[in-house]
Amino acid sequence: MAPVAPRSGDAVFASVDRVNSELFTLTYGAIVRQLLTDLEEVQEVNNQLDQMGYNMGVRLVDEFLAKSNVSRCVDFKETAEVIAKVGFKMFLGVTASVGNWDAEGTTCSIILDDNPLVDFVELPDTCQGLYYCNILSGVIRGALEMVSMKTEVTWMRDMLRGDDAFELQVKLLKQVPEEYPYKDDE
């Protein structure tokens, strides 16, 4: 059987079950607000959002692999492109771009101009230090860890802090070779 061709982000997004984004955006906002009330430090809220995102990424990557027909990426460059063009589109309905590669090809930025998480959001001055969208960095880290890539994800730009885009720096720390618990010829 011929391998199935990978699908474009638009095609995958069109094929998955979708919900009205207001519900998602307002739910996320309500969580951030509740966490700010319950946890004392803004940094703890950042950590909690990152952890929640990580757990989500671990599970969302299965759906991604099942529905996108994306085949194994040859290198980290391709991985980043697939996250930006297929991953973001499939889940959030927006497309991101990739840029700012370092010379080794292990660090790049994923840049979002349009981010449904921040529709209706304005941060008060009391939330300085909050990475409102920190769940996104967790999702990327969690999903990549499931496909054997240890990464560090850091916010470089944030529109809620007055920047002109959202920019997440993704740094590949280590690629864990896959080990099978068996050998074919045994």
């Binding site: 997004f13 998955v16 079950d17 979708r18 919900v19 009205n20 984004s21 207001e22 519900l23 998602f24 307002l26 739910t27 996320y28 906002g29 309500a30 969580i31 607000r33 509740q34 319950d38 909690q48 952890q51 929640m52 757990n55 989500m56 599970r59 969302l60 759906e63 499939m90 889940f91 959030l92 309905g93 449904p116 529709d119 769940i135």
Partner: protein, 175 residues
């Protein structure tokens, strides 16, 4: 059609709300975890109801507001209406969804008694499975309470899944 996101984003997010509140600092205090999850739902319901009623005249009575919740509001959230609405005409309404979307991916052990009303999470603490499902119901209960509160109706909301996958939300309006 307005902007959309994948349903799995919302689903995994809701699962994370429940697990982060139930396994974190509130691990030994399910009542407190439940109250937080309900509060998140309340906030969402309040805001959504504000948005969805912007261009409408005021509702003339409780029944009109409840009908709005069953039809328009529910359709925005779940792309379907509430299947059955009952009332005792004394301030109690039962909203029945025959296939409640947010429980559709959950498996419930039929031998486990889940009929206990989620109003009392303390009694469910002994039964982990029932508790886990019950915890997922605080969010939608909070949404309903928040939506009605925005329409000027103070009420208490509980959920009953004794005939799963049917979920009945019981709204008791405070006199």
């Amino acid at each position: 059609m307005g902007r959309e996101v994948a349903e799995s984003c919302l689903e995994t997010l809701l699962t994370e709300i429940v697990s982060s509140y139930c396994n974190g600092v509130y691990a030994t205090k399910p009542e407190l975890a439940a109250r937080r999850i309900e509060a998140i739902g309340f906030q969402v319901g309040h805001q959504l109801s504000e948005r969805y009623t912007m261009d409408r005249p005021r509702f003339s009575d409780h029944l009109e507001a409840i009908k709005f919740l069953c039809k328009d509001f529910w359709s925005e959230l779940f792309k379907k209406q509430i299947d059955n609405l009952k009332t005792n005409h004394r301030g109690t309404f039962v909203l029945q969804d025959n296939r409640f979307r947010w429980l559709s991916h959950m498996s419930i052990d039929p031998s486990v008694d889940t009929s206990a009303s989620i109003q009392d999470p303390a009694t469910m603490a002994e039964n982990k499975a029932a508790q886990a499902v019950g915890m997922h119901l605080y969010f939608p209960c909070g949404i309903i309470r928040g939506a009605l509160s925005n329409l000027g109706i103070q009420c208490a909301v509980s959920a009953d899944i004794s005939s799963f996958p049917t979920c009945s939300f019981v709204v008791r309006i405070k006199a």
